[in-house]
């Protein structure tokens, strides 16, 4: 299940940010490593909300800086 979430997140990030999926490593930072600007981040959060059927409040979104952080957030939300 956990790998599944990581794989899905990596796919969405790759698609949204136009980067190769191989670059979307768990430790990768959206802004610093994957070139996301503020608008990209908003769109990415929307795509994750849609895929996992969750809500990511703006305050939480700001703290999600890496691929792993997104996975952890989604896991926590899904477990709740």
């Amino acid at each position: 299940m956990a790998d599944d979430i990581l794989g899905k997140v990596q796919g969405i990030v790759s698609e949204q940010l136009g980067v190769d999926v191989a670059e979307v490593k768990p430790e990768a930072s959206f802004a610093n490593d994957l070139g996301a600007d503020s608008l990209d981040t908003v769109e990415l959060v929307m795509a994750l909300e849609e895929e996992f059927d969750i809500e990511i409040p703006d305050e939480a979104a700001e703290s999600i800086g890496t691929v792993q952080a997104a996975v952890d957030f989604i896991k926590a939300k899904s477990a709740a």
């Binding site: 940010l17 136009g18 070139g35 608008l39 908003v42 769109e43 929307m46 849609e50």
Partner: protein
């Protein structure tokens, strides 16, 4: 500023993305061959629409001009503009560096801007609610973004703006860029028009306005300006861009010069939202003002690239306007509507037709009006029917008229030192 203070302005590069070819050369060869770019709509299911034909751009790959991420966050109308601008800069061999960036500007017009993204997002809004609308919707759809993004992609930091005068927008943009270079506010301008409005909502609206041809079973022959059997315009898409450059700047770097831009006229009918004023007084005044601006007498004009939309209203009105503006010389001048081949690119039309007009001046070759089988009784001038014509083109004009009553005329001539 007196006329002697004004700089001379020359055309040193051109680029084109059109329904008949996606490079300057393919476009020009297509025009001379009388190639039609019109076919059944493939972009969406048009089966319920009155008009089911268009001049779609074929085989365009934005990744030839930008990376995947930029392509995704850029509406098609702006992709066309960026691509044609890069072609034009390469054609001009003009490199933008830190040293000249502030002296190169961008002026790109469009009729409607990012209609495709707006329609897609409206559908998301209705189906999924406001919180699913893309943060890129606004920056993708706003009409000025073709000019803004072209600057980002080329580094041009000089004067930058956007004309939004419907089907006259591309010509207004070229004219405004001409004034900027002429008055010394920039050494070069990337200018033209772009449009990508082959979308369901756009076709619904234009069809309701009774503007579009419904010759759905014969797309190649649907755009037939000045012909008796014309029944409306056929929409096309694409972009045409010119590099206008101050003469001394062009000479100092040994640039190839296609021709000189010498006149710009614009007027408004102040008459009706969509219909031209009967008799075409506003269009005639636009041509006369452009010629006066150029210091050229009507009898010197060799070629008119007409607005020539193939609508019942435009073609006889424009014919009357040409007679008013050129007097007795009207019957001697070669006139053609390249929309017979490309369809009508709305705000993009002034761009690609400015390119066609300059190419006619540079190559002494006039593109035809295709599908002209039996001219309308009120259309009795020389429209260069069906075959291109090799002929000296010393001075040429390009007309563009838009909903809102906008009339614009550009004048180009052979460059002579």
């Amino acid at each position: 500023m007196t006329s002697t203070d004004k700089k001379r302005v020359v055309v040193t590069g051109m680029g084109a993305i059109t329904p008949i070819g996606n490079t300057l050369d393919a476009y020009w060869q297509g025009l001379l061959a009388g190639k039609s770019g019109i076919g059944p709509i493939t972009f969406f299911d048009a089966s319920k629409h009155k008009c089911r034909i268009a001049g779609e751009v074929k085989g365009f790959d934005p990744l030839e001009y930008m990376d995947a991420k930029d392509a995704k966050r850029t509406d098609r109308f702006a992709q066309f503009a960026i691509s044609a601008s890069k072609q034009a800069l390469a054609d001009a061999q003009l490199t933008i560096t830190d040293l000249n960036a502030e002296q190169v500007g961008v002026m790109i017009g469009t009729g409607v801007g990012g209609l495709k993204v707006m329609e897609e997002q409206q559908s998301i809004y209705l189906n999924k609610g406001p919180n699913r609308c893309s943060p890129f919707m606004v920056p993708m759809m706003i009409a000025n973004m073709a000019a803004g993004l072209t600057a980002i992609h080329t580094g041009a930091q000089g004067p930058n703006s956007c004309a939004v005068t419907a089907c006259a927008a591309g010509s207004n943009a070229i004219g405004d860029a001409f004034r900027i270079v002429q008055n010394g506010y920039a050494q070069a301008m990337i200018c033209g028009g772009t449009e990508a409005a082959i979308t369901p909502l756009s076709f619904a609206g234009f069809a309701s306005a009774r503007a579009l041809s419904t010759r759905n079973d014969d797309p190649d022959h649907a755009s037939r300006p000045f012909d008796k059997d014309r029944d409306g315009f056929v929409m096309g898409e694409g972009a045409g861009v010119l590099i206008l450059e101050e003469l001394e700047h062009a000479l100092s770097r040994g640039a190839r010069i296609y021709g000189e831009m010498v006149g710009y006229g614009m007027t408004c009918d102040a008459h009706h939202m969509t219909a031209p004023v009967p008799g075409g007084a506003g269009a005639a005044r636009s041509m006369s003002l452009a010629l006066k601006d150029a210091g050229i007498s009507p009898s010197e004009v060799s070629y008119v690239n007409a607005h020539g939309t193939s609508t019942p209203a435009n073609d006889p009105t424009e014919t009357a306007a040409i007679k008013t503006a050129l007097g007795d010389h009207a019957k001697n001048v070669a006139i053609s509507s390249t929309k017979s081949m490309t369809g009508h690119l709305l705000g993009g039309s002034g761009g690609i037709e400015g390119v066609a007009t300059c190419m006619a001046v540079a190559n002494d070759h006039i593109p035809p009006t295709i599908n002209l089988q039996a001219p309308d009784d009120e259309c009795d001038l020389d429209y260069v029917p069906n075959q291109s014509r090799a002929q000296t083109v010393e001075i040429a004009m390009s007309n563009s008229f838009g909903f809102g009553g906008h009339n614009v005329t550009l004048v180009f001539r052979k460059y002579r030192s």
